[in-house]
Symmetry: C2
Subunit: 332 residues, 2 copies
């Protein structure tokens, strides 16, 4: 009987590298390999890329096929973008080889929203090949979806769910500061959001997952996003934002069912946010009013969510799962 | 393929009756029978006892054997006391017949604490007979154990967990007001607690479950309970408490591992509590600071937790489960 899970990694961006560092501390995990398409990373030592000495003997390879010539992972940690369609293309060959996948891909939180046919097909492949898939993270994946849903576990009935998250992007990584439009003319940010090229990914997926779990059928999900404009010059480690330029975003999603609003989610991610927090209000029997002072820290929590999902995904068995299909999230 | 779950009930106290009312509203559940040992209830109509008209044709029977002469439930909702040993005696014949059990028995939250051998034996019986068991409720079962554990799902590491709950017992049922010692001389309450006959049941079980899930091995769990003394006369629907008599309890449990405190839980349940709330503080990476303003309402939430656990227990398959083994709690 093996006493650990053999884990390989697909995607060595910030989240991928942090996931490796976190997993290297876990007695139940054995990191066996890493894949990245970036030629600047291929062939380099994983020990060198991550700073984890014991991984010095592992070289980054460019493809799954090459990885499988030397090792057979149980699970691949996939951290390579937000698109369900692209992630499915990358994940399908893993599933065909019976390898389970924990992904940070935002749209994989609830892939049926954008890729219903592909979702069914990949689920069937999972069942055939005894592999599991789950998409997770802190948001989407926890604060604005799994945690509110968990709270409904002590409700007899739920009329409305409201979730609010305000993130101080000044404390976050460069990619996130860029994603929220830092320094951009507001009109340019609006145009980018309209083109699907800016904003918080996976927000509609959070809403769709909540509606699905609550049994709210055929929800009408609407999403808006406005730039937050700097009222004075803001300087971060990565960006200088003059007054009048974009310093963040204010994104709102609502779900209405039969003309009645059942869900509203309000997200602000901006530089120099003075009062970062998460808040959840369930209106029902009983009603619940939850505040997380300071909020749930983004990057650390996303990495932790992925790492902690591995043992639970293995316990859940084959299939393309939602986070809510897995056992209760717990640190492993 | 059947489209509903056939549910029977064991124990028709306040929680049992409320669970029936809640289940009667659920399209996925079909209430097929009820057992109670109380001769005053046997033979009476479940419709009359619960006020749910459509249950008029169901008569309360005194034993499982008699129930099984007419119906075959998939699940029994067990609400008949706090002792794991006694509950196991009641549940064993159900499991032997392949019937799964959701129980409000506080010690069944983590039965291995007091009944390790019996727990293993009942788990084996569950596996043999393809039945599942889970103990749940709002506390123990959610606020002070499952919810803090859920929050650790986004933590890389956890050094300490603190949970605080203050309940305004004035809004609760008679049994709870009695359980917290309302009106008793403080010395008498202390003696009753020392004899294991007063206080909040299942508190050490909450602590043991948290330690188990966190991987904190061989915890030393200590529990204290002091009466809260009325500083003026308090009048409730059920009790008159003169000044100087007990108006509630203050119960504290800690868990230390290798001399280091890892967990502290602080529970106040008392009459006329001005600021009912639940609070959770996780110290780790990241730290989390959660406040539930007003707290999670006790009786409604306990009933909801039981009802909502039924579909998840069926999904989890055979075995004596912890709440954390089941999929994420969600309203069903």
């Amino acid at each position: 009987m093996k006493s650990y899970t053999r884990v390989a990694h697909f995607g060595l961006g910030v989240i991928g590298v942090e996931a490796i560092k976190a997993l290297a501390d876990k007695p139940w995990a054995n990191i066996v390999g890493a894949i990245d398409v970036d030629p600047a990373k291929v062939g380099r030592s994983l020990g060198e890329i991550t700073g984890v000495g014991k991984l010095a003997g592992i070289s980054v390879v460019p493809t799954l096929e090459e990885l499988l010539t030397t090792v057979q992972p149980d699970v691949i940690v996939h951290a390579a973008g937000s698109s369900a369609a692209i992630s499915f293309e990358q994940i399908e060959p893993m599933v065909r080889r019976g390898i389970s996948v924990v992904s940070s891909c935002e749209q994989l939180l609830f892939p049926a929203l954008r890729e219903p046919a592909h979702t069914r097909q990949i689920h069937s492949l999972c069942m055939e090949n005894k592999a599991g898939i789950v998409g997770t993270g802190v948001n989407p994946g926890f604060v604005m979806d799994v945690l509110p849903l968990t709270l409904t576990g002590v409700c007899r009935s739920v009329r409305h769910i409201y979730v609010e998250r305000e993130v101080n992007a000044s404390t976050r990584r460069m990619q996130l500061q860029k994603k929220i439009g830092s320094g951009m003319p507001p009109a340019e940010f609006r145009a980018l959001f309209a083109a699907g090229k800016a904003g918080h990914a996976g927000f509609a997926e959070s809403a769709a997952m909540i509606c699905h779990c609550m049994g709210w059928e055929n929800p009408k999900i609407s999403e808006t996003c406005q730039p937050i404009v700097a009222s004075r010059k803001i300087q971060t480690e990565f960006f200088t934002v003059p007054e009048g330029r974009t310093s963040g975003l204010h994104q709102v999603v609502t779900a209405t069912v039969d003309g009645l609003e059942r869900l509203k989610m309000d997200l602000k991610m901006h530089l120099d946010a003075a009062n970062p927090h998460d808040a959840i209000q369930i209106t029902g029997s009983p009603s619940l009013n939850v505040m997380i002072d300071g909020g749930v820290a983004g990057d650390v929590a996303t990495v932790a969510a992925m790492v902690n999902a591995i043992p639970r995904l293995q316990k859940a068995g084959p299939g393309l799962h939602l986070m809510t299909d897995l056992p209760v999230p717990v640190m492993h």
